[in-house]
Each structure stands twice: as C-alpha cells, then as structure tokens.
C-alpha cells in the first residue's frame, strides 16, 4: 500500500500571504481529498476533487488536480493565524480505502 507524498513537510509564512502545498501519488484515482488537522485533534475534511475535474474552489481554498502528472496542490489565500494546522491529502486506493499523505505542517506567523 503506497502513501501519498506531500511537499513541503513544513511551511512557515506571514499572515496575509498565500500558502501552497503539493501532493503526489502513483496510482489511478477516483478522487483526491484534502483534510486539515489542528494540533492533537481529529481531521476535518476540506475539499474533494474528482478525477475528471482540474480545479475546485471553496472560500479561500483552491485545489488543482493534474492526473497526467499524478499531482495535486492546495492553495490557501490571504492566510490567517487560524489556518495554522497540518494539511493532508488523501486518495482512493481502489474502492476500499483512502491513503493519506504524510502531511504538511503550516505555521502562520502574525
């Protein structure tokens, strides 16, 4: 069972700047999802992009998917201190399970 690879592992930016995180995978997928985890808590679903979609928006979040390169990116615009968290991509391995990336730890400095 493979894991997704996320890049960078850690990212520290100033409040108001944009944050970009990348995810790569190796298999064919039905969809790719992004989750957020605040320190010591469970994961919260942010957005799901299907394999036939190239871009999706939700508030300050923008997700892209390039199935030819087997990669996805999550952009958070106009970052806030409350965006400080770890972000995980997750994709289907077959129909039965989600495979999670290692995560990107994002710190927003005031």
């Amino acid at each position: 069972s493979q894991q997704g690879e996320e890049d960078p592992q850690a990212l520290s930016i100033q409040e108001g700047e944009n944050a970009t995180m990348n995810c790569s995978y190796k298999t064919s997928i039905n969809n790719l999802q992004w989750y957020r985890q605040n320190s010591g808590r469970g994961l919260v679903h942010l957005i799901l992009i299907r394999s036939n979609e190239r871009e999706k928006h939700s508030g300050r979040l923008r997700v892209t998917l390039d199935t030819s390169k087997k990669s996805s990116s999550l952009l958070i615009t106009a970052s806030r201190a409350a965006d400080t968290a770890s972000y995980f991509c997750a994709f289907n391995e077959g129909a039965q399970k989600l495979v999670f990336g290692q995560g990107t730890r994002l710190t927003i400095n005031p």
């Binding site: 069972s1 894991q3 039905n30 969809n31 999802q33 989750y35 010591g40 808590r41 469970g42 994961l43 919260v44 679903h45 799901l48 995980f88 997750a90 289907n92 129909a95 039965q96 399970k97 989600l98 999670f100 990336g101 290692q102 995560g103």
Partner: protein
C-alpha cells in the same frame, strides 16, 4: 452536522492489558474506519467496516481486533497492549459504498501503554 465521538481523549494502560476503544457516529453512515497516527508515519489504516458485523483488515491489523454489532458503533480492541501500540487512534465514518466519499473523524484517543 455529523458527529463522531470517541470514548476517551486520553488513556493510560499497562502492558498486557486488554484495551477497548469505542467510536460512535450519529449519521447512519455505512462505513467506519480505525486509524493510528504516529509522527513521521502519517495515518495508517488498522481495520474498516462497511456494514454491521462486517470487518476488513487494513494495512496494520496485527495486535488489534474490531467489533461492529450495531451500525453506529465500531470498537477497536487491543487484545494485549504493548508499548509499541502507544499512539493516537482516530476513528472515522463515511456514507455510501467504499471509501470514495469524505470521511468524518472523531477527536482522537491518545493511548499510552506503560
């Protein structure tokens, strides 16, 4: 809103004890999952269930068992706890068939085995 609850936020047990971690969801979801999360290793799937009384092994089932007697409840059992099972345990649920849909997570149980 979907709510997934876990029986304990923090748990300390001794080596050799039998440990029960309970998870309950209130949205009539078909699917339930147990993961463990360790630094540097991300989330790893232990067991999952697509229906009552049904269970499937995930990537790391050794040392664990599960029970799903009712649709809303999925229990993870450590038959004989060991120190290498010290970890954060996360339960999740989702609707529909399989793992294509978004998963809703509980707050996690941080288990320490001494």
């Amino acid at each position: 809103d979907v709510k997934v609850t876990q029986s304990s936020r923090y748990l300390v047990k001794r080596t050799g004890e039998k440990v029960f971690l309970e998870c309950v969801q209130d949205m009539d979801h078909e699917n339930m999952f147990w993961y463990r999360q360790d630094p540097g290793l991300g989330l790893r799937l232990i067991y999952f269930s697509y229906d009552v009384k049904m269970k499937e092994k995930g990537d790391i089932p050794e040392g664990y068992s599960v029970s799903r007697e009712k649709k809303e409840r999925f229990s993870l059992i450590l038959e004989s706890a060991s120190t290498n099972q010290t970890s954060m345990y996360l339960c999740a649920s989702s609707f529909g068939r399989g793992a294509r849909n978004e998963q809703f997570f509980g707050p996690g149980t941080r288990l320490t085995v001494l």
